[in-house]
């Protein structure tokens, strides 16, 4: 699981840390407080590590927009702490990038390191001023020694250390196991341009459900091809049935060459096929969330921005249950942003993180102690943190630190 994610100097963020809940972490805050910036910063890291040829078009095109307006020379820094089952210690990955908006390459690595929880267990450390610059001479040191090497300019070393189990695992997680969903309007509806773009992309690089919901057919088709996953298809149908009682089944049109997802509606005693793209926006959005949560292989982290958008309030409990269940059933932690009191009321307050914009800077931290106590004492319902007693971030003065 991801224990913490710290980012410095990304858009409105000077220095912010998300301490993740093991199950569901929820970012709450007003519009323009920086919630999306936090997620964008995580997305930038993921796409950067994938390599320039793999990075999303958006990141390549817009990275200059990520440079903080008031600190254009500041270094973009990441510190990620992961706890993976195959290692008895947490793994800490640090990356420092110099953004060069006016030059090419636009980003260079200044410093990079991976450790197994302490300096003694450092896997590697790369610094710009290191004496050794030949990456071919790199040797992974035995425990207790640090390999000091020079960074390789534009590329991070993390994905280029094939004999390091730790590096391989962290690279795999940070590039392939972060589902950072930003479902657009018109999600899962056929659009010729999107299909052309998407087909090319899928051929080059298949990695489950993509941020914009593309790949849904592959992901859902996997449920029909793999006997271990077939029950998931029926389970998703059962969940969708609670949204629309007419829905009895969800299938692909042709098991061997699926071109669309078809829902079986029970109408007048007959089971009639309806194309998924004909379903309502809200219905398709719920479907996309379920697909993300049940996809195989599972992500380590599924992030959803405002999952309530377009969805009937009555479905909030279903979504909340599924978010919690995903973590319980080892299908990944969940990170959410929300403005929905109804959704928030179904989620445990322990995962709440408050995002505030103060003097142009995004701050994030746990809920103020007094409000946590009020939730425990049932003076407040979690949802009321959005509309009755607005969530406040714990600060140093009242005991808990917020970044």
């Amino acid at each position: 699981m991801i224990e913490s994610f710290r980012v410095q100097n990304f858009k409105s963020i000077r220095d912010a840390t998300i301490d993740f809940d093991p199950a569901v972490t929820v970012l709450v805050g007003r519009n323009s407080s920086g919630k999306t910036n936090l997620i964008d910063s995580l997305r930038f890291l993921r796409d950067y590590l994938r390599g320039p040829e793999q990075a999303s078009d958006r990141n390549q095109r817009e990275f200059r927009e990520f440079v903080p307006a008031q600190r254009t020379g500041a270094k973009l820094q990441y510190d990620v702490t992961l706890k993976l089952p195959q290692f008895p210690y947490p793994l800490c990955y640090a990356l420092v990038l110099q953004m060069q908006p006016q030059r090419s390459p636009g980003v260079i690595v200044v410093k990079e390191g991976l450790s197994g929880g302490s300096e003694k267990n450092a896997v590697f450390l790369a610094e710009k001023d290191s004496a050794t610059s030949d990456r071919k001479g790199l040797k992974i040191p035995p425990p207790g020694q640090v390999s000091r090497i020079a960074p390789q300019g534009q590329l991070a070393l993390l994905g280029q250390l094939p004999v390091s189990r730790e590096a391989s695992a962290v690279y795999g997680v940070l590039t392939e196991s972060l589902g950072l969903y930003d479902f657009p309007l018109g999600l899962l509806k056929p659009n010729h341009d999107d299909e052309k773009r998407g087909v090319g992309r899928r051929e080059a690089n298949q990695r489950g459900l993509e941020d914009d919901g593309f790949g849904h057919l592959d992901v859902f088709g996997g449920f029909t091809r793999d006997h271990r996953l077939m029950a998931r298809k029926d389970w998703i149908a059962a969940l969708l049935h609670t949204l629309n009682p007419a829905v009895e089944s969800v299938e692909v049109d042709q098991p061997r060459r699926a071109s669309k997802i078809v829902l079986g509606h029970r109408i007048g005693g007959q089971l009639l096929p309806f194309d998924l793209s004909q379903e309502s926006e809200g219905f398709r959005r719920v479907f996309a969330h379920l697909l993300a949560l049940y996809q195989d292989p599972a992500k380590l982290l599924n992030c959803f921005e405002e999952p309530e958008n377009g969805v009937h309030p009555g479905a909030m409990e279903l979504l909340a249950e599924q978010f919690k269940l995903a973590a319980e059933e080892d299908r990944g932690q969940v990170l959410l942003t929300t403005h929905s009191p109804r959704l928030l009321s179904h989620l445990p307050p322990s995962g709440l993180r408050v995002v505030e914009m103060i003097d142009g800077e995004t701050k994030v931290g746990p809920l103020e102690a007094g409000q946590l106590e009020a939730l425990r004492d049932n003076l407040l319902a979690p949802g009321e943190l959005l509309d009755v007693d607005e969530a406040r971030r714990a600060t140093d003065t009242n005991g808990a630190a917020g970044g």
Partner: protein
């Protein structure tokens, strides 16, 4: 405690204005950062048990440094108060809506909630809507509508009618509050005088160190 962020901003303005007049800033300051909202009367009294009111009041009392809590809410809403014998008793055995009885009912519950803690509580209910007060301030002295300005329903509609322009609470309420002639409004609206008196009582209580609950209730 107020219905909306606009209402809370306006209430804070009234509190600051009165603190300035009374020279009360040595005894108190207004916490504007975190008002407790959604305190519309139907919600505050829902179910007849005043759970929402008691819970949110407790929330406010527990905040570090709280010396007084004030609720300002519109009285335009409930027609009847059901399943609330305590209210009926304060209202002469009837369950129809009476802002004065309503305020006393909330105050009585507040007194129990506060107990022996050093916190004062005030309850103020606009007879209909806050906008009725603004309309009263915008009318000429010879305006015939003054006779019913406080009790007329749809205060926002009345205000638009008086102004002859559009009115949007989120944009205009706080600005109009700052510019309004509150002396004139006090002379025209009894429920505003109650607010003013309540604020004064809370400031006195904090200055003297003798907590109070307003309106006063027996016991």
């Amino acid at each position: 405690m107020a219905e909306s962020a606009n209402d809370a901003e306006c209430l804070a303005w009234h509190l600051d204005a009165r603190l300035q007049v009374e020279g009360g800033f040595d005894a108190a300051y207004v916490d504007k950062r975190s008002p407790i909202l959604q305190c519309a009367l139907p919600k505050v009294i829902s179910g007849g048990t005043l759970k929402f009111w008691r819970d949110k009041l407790e929330l406010a009392i527990r905040r570090p440094g709280t010396g007084a809590v004030i609720l300002l809410t519109d009285g335009d809403g409930p027609q009847r108060v059901r399943d609330a014998p305590d209210y009926d008793a304060l209202n002469g055995g009837k369950n129809d809506y009476c802002p004065a009885a309503m305020a006393r009912w909330l105050a009585a519950a507040a007194r129990k909630q506060v107990g022996d803690r050093d916190v004062s509580v005030g309850v103020a209910i606009a007879c209909r809507e806050y906008e009725n007060w603004l309309a009263a301030g915008a009318m000429q002295a010879d305006d015939e509508r003054l006779a019913t300005v406080e009790t007329r329903r749809d205060g926002k509609g009345l205000l638009k009618e008086v102004l002859g322009t559009s009115y949007t609470a989120t944009v205009s309420q706080a600005a109009m509050t700052r510019d309004a002639d509150w002396e004139a409004i006090a002379s025209r609206c009894r429920s505003f005088r109650h607010l003013d008196t309540t604020i004064g009582s809370l400031i006195d209580a904090m200055q003297s160190g003798k907590p109070t609950v307003r309106p006063q209730v027996d016991g």
